[in-house]
Symmetry: C2
Subunit: 333 residues, 2 copies
């Protein structure tokens, strides 16, 4: 059914070798031969069988991007950048979701070893443990995205979460707030991201000579729906906070909604900062001040690192910190 090199070779009256050379743009070919082969190629509408090519070359040009959930805006935007940049490099991206919960994380690891056609993996997880990673040791190159959750020899691309969080909270304090609360986190005990954002929060508060004690509320995940109960709780404190630092824009969106339902004016009564700068945040009412990680930069660094690792499996471990930016909008006053 499918046209093969042999079919083309027969039609053009040359060997498969020659056809292969033409297909792959090899240099030293007699113009006449090339023309003849080209013609046969067109006439038969030849399409190379990439599976066969991959088997031969040991590379597929496919990388896998593993993230918690693609429908979460931040990850959707990150995936967009990755797909975008990878396609520039002639790489196709396959997407797998870890779901965030550790039950499915096991399936995921199975999937990972299942997917032997994948050249390499970009892994963005909230709670990957060292033991999990161990199982991957011998397999394909893997670049960790987001926060490093275990001491490994893996390449890593992320941002300085401590400093970013510190700047976010410092910004609230600069705007005159003195009682800043923080909310965020995830079910995973090893959620390093929230650990570092919390550290940055505490640092900023202490730098201002204030006390962060008792001002942090954990949430089960980073989604919009998870902010409500935390917000309800802090509204009942004896001394209400006058600012709120959310560990994600989605949480912030949920917080804005809950504050609105309680008739609390933002930023007048409570200022709000998010983290991620998802697209929706500049359109919310009020628009959301936030930290904007350089998503395109993360994507580029991640893909580049992975490709480099493919060529040089033994190369030195790379630890890349990509930039971020503080975005001031209405919600922080």
């Amino acid at each position: 059914m499918a046209v093969t090199l042999r079919d083309v070779a027969e039609k053009a009256g040359v060997s498969v070798r020659t056809v292969s050379n033409v297909v792959n743009g090899f240099q030293h070919i007699a113009p006449a031969t090339r023309a003849r082969v080209q013609e046969a190629l067109e006439e038969l509408n030849y399409r190379p069988n990439l599976v066969a090519r991959s088997l031969r070359q040991g590379r597929t040009g496919i990388i896998m991007l593993v993230l918690p959930e693609i429908n979460v805006s931040y990850f959707g935007e990150l995936a967009h950048e990755v797909v975008d940049y990878a396609s520039l490099c002639g790489i196709t991206v396959q997407i797998d979701e870890s779901g965030g919960d550790s039950l499915r994380e096991k399936q995921l690891l199975t999937a990972l070893s299942r997917a032997s056609w994948v050249d390499g993996v970009l892994f963005s997880s909230l709670g990957l443990r060292g033991v999990d990673l161990a199982g991957l040791a011998g397999s394909r190159p893997l670049v960790l995205l987001g926060e490093r959750t275990a001491r490994t020899a893996l390449d890593h691309v992320g941002i300085d979460n401590v400093e970013a969080a510190r700047q976010a909270v410092a910004h609230l304090i600069e705007r005159g707030r003195t009682r800043v609360a923080a909310i965020g986190g995830s079910g995973g005990a090893r959620d390093a991201t929230s650990k570092y954002r919390l550290k940055g929060f505490e640092r900023a508060v202490r730098d201002a000579g204030l006390d962060p004690e008792g001002l942090y509320l954990r949430t089960p995940d980073y989604r919009r729906g998870s902010a409500a109960s935390a917000v309800r709780e802090l509204l009942e404190w004896d001394e209400r906070p006058d600012a709120l630092f959310c560990f994600s824009d989605e949480l912030a969106a949920g917080a804005l909604r809950e504050l609105y339902e309680h008739g609390v004016r933002v930023p007048d009564e409570i200022a709000v900062m998010g983290f991620d700068d998802i697209e929706a945040s500049s359109f919310s009412t009020p628009s959301l001040s936030t930290i904007r990680p350089d998503k395109a930069g993360i994507a580029k660094a991640a893909v580049d690192t992975l490709l480099r690792r493919l060529d040089d499996p033994a190369g030195e471990r790379r630890e890349i910190n990509v930039g971020f930016e503080l975005v001031r909008r209405e919600s922080s006053g």
Copy 2:
């Protein structure tokens, strides 16, 4: 380097055939042999080379999902459902973005024929033309998602956009609105989605004995940022509309923002309806009334249809309409 069937066969003192049988769970194997092979398998930590297997079997278990942009919430949520359901079927999903603009649509088609390892394609495009599709005729099975934009023999999964839009607008009219405007669309001349939603809008308006003339404003795309200028324009009409039907939730979010900036109260002065029910919509202020297409249903139908088509390439064309639901929230009063 990688362990192959042969390595295992040698170690176990059997033929590759036998090892293959064990790996694939073949029935008729002597218990003793099986045990010996299992042991060798474990000891060498054998992982099948799926590229080789695919070459042999002519199937990879990979399908491609093509959509405009993965960072657009609706598509992110749809992709989530597709990845979810496909993984249940043992299928991996590869994602490609068409970008929406026809310039990149050509690259996309190239990519499609490039990607010969893909078993089949789920294609969600806003403006695919018949001629474009023609080029794919001989290649892999393709299921069209969203709106059918050309008369083809392709399978198609979507929702009844005319009826959904009609219900949305009828709902606004039921709530007492008499002057409903519509905004949405895309650059493509062949944006069938907006065509049908517009038709549903007009039908609902006429059904109520009103006149839709001059109440539709085209936007360049369905994104949040594209609603602003349309909203500014309709606010300057002599007779202001008292309701607004947006062809997507993102447009509606942009509209809510713009109305807020102009001090127009929603829903008191203008009621707003969206379309898609992205997650953010239930958290906006005011929360957004909208049409909720059964995304999981679309994903399931799409994957099922594609898999069936793989087994039966000559089967009858399938035309599937998935359900939807009207979601009443604050923005429609």
